[in-house]
Subunit: 222 residues, 2 copies
Amino acid sequence: MTQNSPPEKQNVVKHRGRPRKAPDDQVARKQLIKAGLVYLTERGFSDVSVDEILKASGTTKGTFYHHFKSKADFGQDLIEAYHSYFAAKLMSWFDNDTLSPLHRLRGFIKDAETGMAKHDFRRGCLVGNLGQEMAVLPDAMCSRLIEVLQDWQSRTAACLVLAQQQGEISCELDAAAMAEFFWIGWEGAVLRAKLERKPDPLRRFADGFFTLLSISPHQSQG
Amino acid sequence: MTQNSPPEKQNVVKHRGRPRKAPDDQVARKQLIKAGLVYLTERGFSDVSVDEILKASGTTKGTFYHHFKSKADFGQDLIEAYHSYFAAKLMSWFDNDTLSPLHRLRGFIKDAETGMAKHDFRRGCLVGNLGQEMAVLPDAMCSRLIEVLQDWQSRTAACLVLAQQQGEISCELDAAAMAEFFWIGWEGAVLRAKLERKPDPLRRFADGFFTLLSISPHQSQG
DNA sequence: TATTTATCAAACTAATCGGTCTATTAAATA
DNA sequence: TATTTAATAGACCGATTAGTTTGATAAATA
């Protein structure tokens, strides 16, 4: 603490020797992440071997363990990569002012279905896949998965609050609770769609959810 | 075809040599199934090794491969065992005439939560677990998982029809669709409860589902 | 140029995987 | 009793696993 200016980021500090490339510039690393996302969304963490990812990405053991200290560490980075990708997708819908809030949510749902259809419903959600494997995953990975889901939920809740402000849904609904409900069930729908290799479960769940949103609580019999 | 009376069941036909025990009497087999259910509901098919199950059940390789021709074959039998266990549990609630149909469903849900709590929310649903692994499971196993889910759905739908007949929920609801919605989302809730190691996701989903059932479709705005 | 570190290639390792094989004992029939 | 099959034990096998090590080359600084 009394030392002067500790190195804040090693990337920035000048060293002797060859400098580390910026993460965006690390081609092999990006290839590994990309291949990892493909394989882990289709299968899972344990079912996919490092060798398989090496083969798919055209890299080698040396490269892999240069960039990641272990397979679990690679998994953590995959979660972050997926989170970034997914948060961007959610924002592109939920912040789209040309659509009503409820239509933004519908847009996201349709988008997700299209995405699954593109891969013949063989790939699911990385977070759902890894969540199922929590018993064999490091604790840090599990808690990160929970955080990611909560992030998606809060983004969804914000969209629902907007829907309330614009009179699309009742203000008496608990937006946070509805968003939580959505993500609990949506992961189930993705799992089922993957199992049955068809979009029907996604549609069935979405239909039910929008019906639920259409309720005015004081009209219901609780 | 022109031969007389082909042996219909080998179990029944008299052989020379030691007779095969009735399945119910095969102690080691039952121990293997029991251990398999414990481990596979907590983790999954790929994550659990045969050796682990041998150790937990106090048997050996010889015994395992005497009773099951492969690990996948063992998995199939686990699905059947789980299906039997679960169908009995569903029936014990859904056919309980001392409760209203909707209270039967609530009873099942509470029962499921108690069951998960008993194991500190570490064990989930075998069908959900294996469903997530469908990419690495034999096709026969996948289609059986779908059938089992559909069986649970149809039992649930029958309970909802009864609720309609007794005026607990609107007759305009599509009972089959509601049952499908329930099982799509419920598997998601079990997954989430296991990930977070708490009952909240189960309760949140159940709350939403019962609210949905309370709707009279012609009152909703679609 | 000499040194240092980053990046990558691939042989290698110890452990574990599902599954096979051989041997032994148990329980039935002829 | 001799024979046949069921049931169990556990050594063994080839393949695969995550991870290590060694060595080569690239790119920077001093």
